[in-house]
């Protein structure tokens, strides 16, 4: 396996590399550090490119298979780039009972966007998430940091217009 002495990747800037190095250095002696390190690195870059997985594995001296194994097991980690705006559709039971399925179908049709994927122009990523606990507002859609309650399929277009 090549040892990635330097991280050359279009989505990773030199500032990001130094932050990543700090994260790895801080966790060298911690037991069970893979999950926190992956989380912090993903916060820095936005997602986890394969090259970064290699870099972490090399830095923590943990087999690549194990790091990738953890990264693919947990839904928090994404190996693919995300869009500028993330649409999270709550798949909690309350939202389901109140019709989130129709909302998701509408988004899929409108933007040709499947669950867990990103539009080619990287405008939106669509995620189906577990109960957000805002069941009183069901069905709930979270776009970036904004929570939209009582969403219906027919008002989607005007709702998403604001996110360019």
């Amino acid at each position: 396996m090549p040892t990635p002495a330097q991280l050359h990747h279009p989505d990773i800037s030199p500032e990001m590399v130094s932050k990543i190095d700090e994260v790895i250095a801080a966790h060298l002696k911690t037991e069970g550090a893979v999950i926190p390190v992956l989380r912090l690195c993903q916060d820095i870059v936005g997602y986890l490119p394969m090259l970064l997985i290699d870099y972490i594995s090399y830095g923590l001296n943990i087999p690549r298979s194990e790091v990738l194994g953890v990264a693919t097991f947990y839904s928090l980690f994404s190996l693919k780039p995300k869009g500028r705006h993330t649409i999270k559709a709550c798949l909690g039971t309350a939202c389901y009972v109140k019709g989130i399925k129709e909302v998701i179908t509408r988004i899929s049709n409108e933007f040709n966007l499947k669950e867990g994927e990103t539009t080619p122009d990287r405008r939106f990523s669509l995620e189906a998430v577990r109960c957000l606990g805002a069941c009183g507002l069901a069905p709930v859609l979270v776009v970036d940091q904004d929570t939209h309650g009582g969403v219906s399929a027919s008002q989607l277009k005007s709702l998403l217009e604001h996110y360019e």
Partner: protein, 595 residues
């Protein structure tokens, strides 16, 4: 510092924050400052109040007046009329839907009046970010008693007397669990708190952590003392940013006060707690998987025995309890096990917190004494079903639980009684369903969830749940055959008997319980190729019944694809070629005219 004349306990739980409580709070604080009332009237952001349906909510103390659905536009009137002139604003108070009567006082509102607060006794009463407020309400007195006056054996015996059972869902007696771990040899032991609340429709643990984080820490300290552990972890979902923030703050404050760390309260006992963030895997709520995850591995369960009480985290004896279980403990130690056992049924003692959601009027968090019936919870506290629809079923226990139909509504809340009707107590998710819910579709929903979250380690769960899902999907598509019902039952039995962990062993429950009570709906899907609740699109005709159509045009304006033609005083018509089957017309029609 002068005590403020009025305290405004504004709910800052996730539900109210989602309904813009922050915006209201900013406006309120500005207005109080402008009117120079900010010394007399204090705004305190509390944890989840529980009545999420009418959020943002605020309690005015000491009067006990309850305001709901607050917006920034209400601020000026509220400050002027109530806080300045002492005239409560009636239009922002709770109105009883049946009698149309305004109820100003929180404790008189039926939603609160029928509850019994123990675990949630501090919710909405204290600022969860200030440890002194918790201490002022007897906080850490239980831990002090356990550490300075009681031996570990006495703590465990008190726990056994209380009859407290694990609130995570399985209901294992807590005292017994502690006894096993206490007797297990080893110098290094761990106390873990399971805050990886993953059941869809459940948010009890999050609300407790947001409203009263110290109660969980205190419970953990007592547990650590009982089994002689020096290190604890709270495994919390990463999707709960507010709970994580408050936990971090609470731990920091407890350390400053010498309630965590070395030599707690001069007792010679050391204990510290660390928060570990999950990374989004439902199976990590299973105890052995959770421990794997803390070790930094893929969160996959392992066979038991050995049980965690003997070999848990890093192969050391470990006690794992749920958030709500820990929140009960300080009061048991302080008031005694017998006090705790006064409430409840023969085998289920104390109270239980439920997240009441779905097709019910008063959505929110409720705490009820064990032994009251499901009917009381849904109709007296929950306020019944909205839109004059009929109750169909209630789902208890999330994906591992089952649906309980109307004829079993008088079942008391009790671990054994609920199991008898085919569901489980579970962690506390209660989802009410009305006649518009298709039970086959519901089973499909839970299977889809389980199948997605199955860790893949054992074959029955990995492959079996996928096959179950395929069959159900086939039925929903209108391609079901009579033999499918039999196959579902057989396959479910295999998965139940042969899966490795609780996730797989309970995975078929949603199928089995809907088959038990709603077989006619399966048959309608399979034989008549109809979905009685009109949810499964493949089985719908998208045709307008001219006899039922009231020619109102609601469907016409709802259709996003311009597939409906309609003119005044004429029956609408759906053009199937343009139709995208989005169901908007079904939702819009008030006369059930679309088939």
């Amino acid at each position: 510092m002068n005590k403020p004349r009025i305290q405004l306990m504004l709910c800052g739980g996730s539900g109210c924050q989602a309904t813009r409580s922050r915006k209201f709070q900013d406006a309120l604080e500005k207005e109080l400052e402008r009117t120079r009332l900010d010394q007399e009237v204090k705004v305190i952001e509390t944890g989840c109040n529980g009545f999420c349906a009418v959020g943002p909510v605020m309690l005015v103390q000491p009067e006990g007046i309850f305001y709901q659905k607050l917006t920034a536009d209400d601020v000026a009137e509220l400050v002027e009329e109530h806080f300045l002139k002492g005239r409560p604003v009636k239009r922002l108070q709770y109105v009883e839907p049946a009698s149309k009567e305004t109820i100003p006082n929180m404790n008189d509102i039926p939603f609160f009046a029928h509850q019994k607060f123990r675990v949630m006794r501090n919710k909405g009463m204290i600022d969860p970010e200030i440890i002194d407020e918790y201490i002022a309400r007897d906080g850490y007195f239980g831990a002090a008693k356990a550490l300075t006056e009681m031996s570990p054996e006495q703590i465990i015996s008190e726990m056994k007397i209380s009859g407290l059972r694990g609130r995570g869902g399985a209901g294992f007696p807590t005292g017994l669990k502690w006894e096993f771990a206490g007797k297990s040899p080893g110098d290094e032991k761990y106390v873990l708190c399971n805050a990886d609340e993953g059941d869809p429709g459940a948010f009890m643990d999050r609300s407790i952590l947001e409203a009263d984080p110290h109660s969980v820490l205190e419970g953990m300290i007592i547990a650590a003392r009982a089994i002689k552990a020096n290190k604890g972890y709270i495994y919390c979902r990463t999707e709960y940013p507010l709970a994580l923030h408050r936990l971090d703050l609470a731990i920091k404050q407890a350390r400053e006060y010498g309630l965590l760390g070395k030599n707690i309260l001069e007792s010679g006992f050391d204990f510290d707690i660390e928060v570990y963030q999950g990374a989004g895997a439902f199976v990590c709520g299973e105890e052995t998987a959770l421990m794997r995850s803390i070790e930094g591995k893929r969160g996959m369960p392992r066979p038991r025995p050995p049980f965690p009480a003997n070999k848990g985290l890093w192969e050391k004896p470990t006690v794992l309890n749920n958030v709500e279980t820990f929140a009960n403990i300080a009061q048991i130690i302080l008031n005694g096990g017998e006090w705790f056992a006064e409430i409840g049924t023969e085998t289920s003692k104390g109270t239980k917190v439920f997240a009441l959601t779905g097709a019910v009027n008063n959505i929110g968090l409720v705490e009820v004494p064990m032994g009251i019936t499901l009917r009381q919870m849904i109709f007296d506290i929950g306020g019944g079903i909205p839109k004059k629809r009929k109750f169909k079923a209630v789902q208890l226990g999330g994906p591992s639980g089952g649906c309980i139909p109307a004829q079993c509504l008088d079942t008391p809340i009790d671990y054994e009684e609920i199991a008898k009707v085919g569901a489980i107590m579970g962690s506390g998710g209660v989802i009410v369903m009305d006649e518009k819910t298709c039970m086959v579709d519901m089973a499909r929903f839970f299977l889809d969830f389980i199948q997605d979250e199955s860790c893949g380690k054992c074959t029955p769960c990995r492959e079996g749940t996928r096959r179950l899902l395929e069959i159900i999907e086939k039925i929903c598509q209108g391609n079901g055959e009579q033999v499918d019902i039999r196959t579902l039952e057989k396959l479910s039995a295999v998965i139940k008997n042969s899966s490795l962990c609780g996730l797989g062993q309970t995975a078929p429950n949603p199928v089995l319980s809907t088959l038990r009570y709603f077989k006619d709906e399966y048959i309608a899907h399979i034989v008549d190729k109809k979905c009685p609740a009109k949810r499964c699109t493949a089985l719908l005709g998208f045709k307008i019944d001219p006899d039922q159509c009231k020619k109102c045009g609601l469907c016409f304006s709802a259709c996003p694809a311009n597939a409906i033609t309609w003119q005044k005083k004429e029956v609408a018509e759906i053009n199937r070629e343009k139709c995208i089957e989005c169901m908007s017309c079904y939702e819009a029609c008030r006369f059930n005219a679309i088939d």
